[in-house]
Amino acid sequence: MGKTLFDKVWDAHVVDTIPNGPQILYIDKHLIHEVTSPQAFNELEARGIPIARPDQIVATADHNTPTVNQHLPVQDPLSRNQLEQLTKNCEKHGITLYGLGHQYNGIVHVMAPELGITQPGMTMVCGDSHTSTHGAFGSIAFGIGTSQVAQVFASQSLLLKKPKSLRVTVNGTLRPGVLPKDVILYIISQIGTNAGTGYFCEYAGNVFQDMSMEGRMTVCNMSIEMGARGGMIAPDQTTFDYIEGKKFAPQGDAFAKAVSYWKTLPTDTDATFDKEYHFDAADIAPMLTYGTNPGMGIKINEHIPETGDMTFEKALEYMNFKGGSQLLDTTINYVFIGSCTNSRIEDFRVAASYVKGKQKAPNVNAWLVPGSQQVVKQLEEEGLVEVFENAGFTLREPGCSACLAMNDDKIPSGEYCVSTSNRNFEGRQGQGSRTILASPLVAAATAIEGKIVDITKTILA
């Protein structure tokens, strides 16, 4: 029987199998950041264990960093301490760190792919659940807890039970205005937030084949929101073209050799999956969430379901929405374009395409947070900074920002925020904040109009 993409990468990394137990999986690349690494460094220190492979670790500062005045000392003493700890730990152990202000600094899941650190066929981990992003390249990439960060520090390996396999296939033609974010929000709204728990997901079908690498990253990023530890897309010419020439990508003959290996990775035609879902691209529309988990999503012009269970009612009460109503015309005072889901250059290009020549609505506070310094550079080079500034927006500096609101970028209590991030949990963007997840196009339109508008009826009609 044939093997899946996941099987091929997994099997190539199994060091050993414990009888009646887990397998030891070798980890190629370990990404770390300031929030989930300090306790792991402490753990090794306390036990007197050295870091096994510092050259396979890359660090960035992103979760707990300010997005203004990054050239000045960080104001919050706790945040500053966490950043200093990361710097000290990296210096002590010889780990490459792209700290604040570095030309390669950025959100861990934005900066690693753009530097060519992420490659097909790799195993990658990070103490962050959105590590699934890197699966867009056909790598096995998943989030881990801090105990596991310590395990990888100590052994460059993890003890794991092989997950089951899941495939989500979307074929057909996407309608105008439907972005990769809408595709994944639609999938999660259909199968729920725990359909993928215990599984590793592969996305297949022409919709994903036709997507750019950045679109694929948006999709794989949100695999964890349906419970799947990771999501993967078969590497193809789009993948190879993206990687070629990147700073840490194999060069010359090594690249050609790598590509010939990467070409063997896609799932064999006779491979089978434990679970499969199929969707038609024509059924997908621009999406919005109305509740407090990413599975509570509807098409932009749909009505919120009438009734549901206690958890549903609790979510609606929190969001101050009524069952059976529409989200269209809801006044929105906050818009966030950023996060590891949607802060890459294509996201800002699509937002700029709507914004160009218009003016931000006076009621809207819009936070535009590029994913990395490299994205900032691209925005400058393409003249997009000017487009946004002319429309009344200000661009902030890179970081996770209002996606998890660890820094000062918090949405005030009771306010709605149309956000391109990945989670609409209670209080995720600040205590009492109400998040509506959407694509960068819908977010941009909201910022201009000051309320939710049906983009399928306006610009796209």
Partner: protein, 204 residues
């Protein structure tokens, strides 16, 4: 890691589904660089309002559940962020076991790595258990890890209510919990095997 064998205690009912790790420990409390003190802020925004007033209706604040060491929660517990701070917060609060009908993967692993036992039961058993604990906070729950059995006994409606169910656990993780071992020791002991693998692996 602390050893876990058996436990008999009362439980706190939290009949809410999809409890995510942002609720268990909000991001603004993740700024520490050690593992201490997270228990003080477990379920912070459900236990307190924005002004810092105690929400007396929230089960963790109810005096009748004050000595409980088990949390009984709705389906899909621990979804969302990979923050291990969620497991540290629950364990730091003094809880030893979480019972639910479904757990998110990363939370489950994090809990096991911290001696906090996640027990997955059937939806029917969970409903019966939740009802019993809500009707009578003195309901006793016994967890026997060696035999993988969870049972409860309580009285309400003037009748004895009880139930029993076996639960699954990875055999390796079970040994770790019973003996207080963790994965780091094991992986470090496999150093030679891992280094031999490294020599053979493909690197570009």
């Amino acid at each position: 890691m602390e050893k876990f064998t058996t436990l008999t205690t009362t439980a706190i009912p939290l009949p809410i589904e999809n409890i995510d790790t942002d609720q268990i420990i909000p991001a603004r409390f993740l700024k520490a660089t050690d593992k201490k003190g997270f228990g003080d802020n477990v379920f912070r925004d459900w236990r307190y309002d924005a002004e810092g007033n105690l929400n007396e209706e929230f089960p963790l604040n109810a005096p009748q559940y004050a000595t409980a060491q088990i949390l009984v929660a709705g389906d899909n517990f621990g979804c969302g962020s990979s923050r291990e701070h969620a497991a540290w917060a629950i364990a730091g609060y003094g809880l030893k076991v979480v019972i639910s009908s479904f757990f998110a993967d990363i939370f489950k692993g994090n809990a096991l790595n911290n001696g906090l036992l996640p027990i997955q039961v059937t939806p029917d058993f969970l409903n019966q258990l939740l009802t019993c604990v809500q009707e009578n906070p003195k309901t006793k729950i016994t967890v026997d890890l060696e035999n993988q059995i969870v049972e409860y006994i309580g009285i309400y409606n003037e009748q004895i209510q009880k139930g029993k169910e076996s639960f699954d656990i990875d055999p390796y993780k079970k040994v770790c919990l019973i003996n207080g071992y963790d994965d780091i020791d094991f992986l470090v002991s496999k150093k030679e095997t891992i280094e031999a693998f490294e020599k053979e692996r493909m690197v570009f």
